[in-house]
Symmetry: C2
Subunit: 228 residues, 2 copies
Amino acid sequence: MSINPNVAVVASLLGETSRSTMLSSLMDGRFHTASELAFMSAITPQTASFHLSKLVEGNLINVEKHGRHRYYQLANKEVAHLIETFLAISPPPEVRSLKQSNQVKLLQEARTCYDHLAGKLGVALTNSMLNANYLKKEDRVFIVTLKGEQFFTDFGIDLTELKRKRRSFSHACLDWSERHYHLGGALGNGLLTHFFELNWIVHVPSIRAVKVTDRGREGFKQIFNINM
Amino acid sequence: MSINPNVAVVASLLGETSRSTMLSSLMDGRFHTASELAFMSAITPQTASFHLSKLVEGNLINVEKHGRHRYYQLANKEVAHLIETFLAISPPPEVRSLKQSNQVKLLQEARTCYDHLAGKLGVALTNSMLNANYLKKEDRVFIVTLKGEQFFTDFGIDLTELKRKRRSFSHACLDWSERHYHLGGALGNGLLTHFFELNWIVHVPSIRAVKVTDRGREGFKQIFNINM
DNA sequence: TCTATACTTCAACTATAATCGAAATATAAA
DNA sequence: TTTATATTTCGATTATAGTTGAAGTATAGA
């Protein structure tokens, strides 16, 4: 006689290692095919198919058919937020192989969290903008100061455009590896997109880590006073 | 080879109906004994004991021994936040009995969410304070205006005392029944406590609903312009 | 048309988690 | 000390979810 909305239904979808690994893989905000997801969670395509259909049925992910491929994506940012909440509370994974420990290091260094920047780089960037008085932290959001408005505009980011989007503008997202807040929301996404455009960062294949390019190293130093 | 902190470990604890029911019951922020929790989730004491020890081991709840009773409590507000995030995303429960549907109605009307007010009353209260310009919503937090500071002080709430507490001061908490934000954090807790002190609301036994007293009906009308 | 690839469906197997009766422990009260 | 209550531990049962091999469907390309 559960009185509450059925928490267990959704939680049991996340409570299985293969499925949670797939969802974590989708946290980079990009599309992935069924076979990619099967490989990442080390199960056969049959098993992946079984799990993916459960996740679709539970409205945690979406599918798009393109030819013989099926592209999967997180259903919405509520789901991403739910998973990130978990990451902040869950025990760290046991490290088994050298490769894995390197991947963990890469992810800790810099990664995407749904659609904005996280990891050491994400936190350093956020702190840098706080120090420079571009942002002010107010509980669970960051407020853009007057100085900040000038800065973002100069840096090539259209704030009015971002504010029009029907989503959180600048919320503080808790970082599971750094245990610090970093900038999320439309503004966080705007910055991430701009860093890709400027070629300051590139994707690391198969995991959601990003790598800082030489140009990026220079840029982050000059504009944000961050030494990589 | 999961690279991320192990989401599945925590999620699988929540992914079982008896356990999630217990955790939902603990969302009223109060202590409950093992037998109470067993009764609420309609399982035998043996089974409850089994589940509770798993939840303690997983750091989702705490125990305190007092005589032959064991008092359980949510471990921290991160756990409460996680569960509320779930409630916002999970499908609504199937209604089976008249009693249950009445309980759902009571919960929708007014309930505690961890340690602050939620449900229709919680949302109405928050909206009232927004309309009166005591609060201003900024993304995921509420900011207390100058007018608001005056109001809260006059109403008998010590803001400086609340701000000293090492917790979020006034975050916006998404309401699963109303699908609207209501006031949480230390300020939300301060208000709830004060309503109890003023005898405006009383606990409804065995569920986390609260009932508005006659005095409360008058008070909410006069001070917050809310008709119950 | 034929072949390779991406993915799903079906059926069978296996492992494991939830459940509860019975018995044990621990405390409170009489 | 005895009795009642709260809770845990143990052992056995049952149900179910995850897994994969085999076979089928759908699409792309030669």
